[in-house]
């Protein structure tokens, strides 16, 4: 039988907030609002991280995700001036179908995780705290290779970003032909 411990109450409130902010992002017409709601979501998730003993990740979540990445988003939104795009596209059934399938998937998740699940695992809020030392140790020993690979991924992303946004001084022939059309 479910017992409402304080930890649970906090968890449910935070979870509700996370879901609500996600839904808000989903429904907001304005892209800027969406971005801000996503920041809220990220922050709530970061809260959860703090709660379950992952302060480093929680911090990273706020700085990298909520901070850097979302700022980048806002920057592009403002740059392009594309805050609002008409809501209803040419494919009308899309929303209903997406909602339906989404519900199905959630139902499947609930079935497999809650009803059928045999996992006796549980989370100890505030317990099993992983400190930065441990993370650093893992990162430079066991996870050295993936760490290096991520650097190359970032390098590639940088090349890509530059390559795609660099204004060519001499327009390519394709561009000219395209313009002529």
């Amino acid at each position: 039988m479910l017992q409402l411990t304080p930890q649970l109450i906090i968890f449910f409130s935070v979870a509700a907030l996370a879901i609500a902010s996600a839904l808000g992002m989903l429904f907001s017409r304005n892209t800027v609002y969406a971005a801000l709601l996503l920041v809220l979501n990220f922050t709530t998730v970061a809260l959860i991280y703090f709660m379950i003993g992952a302060p480093f990740i929680g911090l990273a979540q706020i700085t990298i995700y909520a901070g850097a990445i979302m700022v980048l988003f806002l920057f592009v939104i403002m740059l392009l001036g594309t805050e609002v795009i008409a809501k209803h596209g040419p494919v009308g059934f899309q929303h209903i179908a997406a909602a339906f399938i989404g519900l199905v998937v959630i139902a499947e998740a609930i079935f497999v995780f809650l009803i059928k699940g045999q996992s006796a695992l549980s989370i100890i809020p505030g317990g099993n705290v992983v400190d930065v030392m441990e993370i650093g140790d893992l990162l430079y020993n066991q996870y050295l290779l993936p760490f290096e690979i991520t650097s190359f991924i970032l390098l590639v992303a940088v090349i890509g970003a530059i390559l795609l946004t660099k204004q060519e001084r001499v327009k390519s022939r394709i561009g000219k032909d395209e313009a002529k059309k």
């Binding site: 649970l8 979870a15 839904l23 992002m25 969406a34 850097a68 988003f73 040419p90 099993n128 991924i153």
Partner: protein, 102 residues
Amino acid sequence: MNTIPMSYFLVLSAIMFSLGAIGVITRRNPLVIFMSLELMFNAANLTFVAFSNAFGNANGQIFVFFVMVVAAAEVAVGLALIVAIFRARGSIDIDLMSSMKN
């Protein structure tokens, strides 16, 4: 016991993941689509961290760290792509990007 069952976290992440997926499917603005993708990644991260706590090891958190980096890289490329497309076409409405079909 003041523990929270693991399955709660799993359901929460599943809901967030699904909401992200719904966002990808329903939104026309690629920027919002990217955000929805981030939401999906975020949901997966939540699972990792929760398991990490449950198992009492840090491996899951390392994974989250990598995911964040990759997400950042993807966002950079994606946004650059949108900028390039906007320059070329003056619009980023993805429903208008449907010239190839059948």
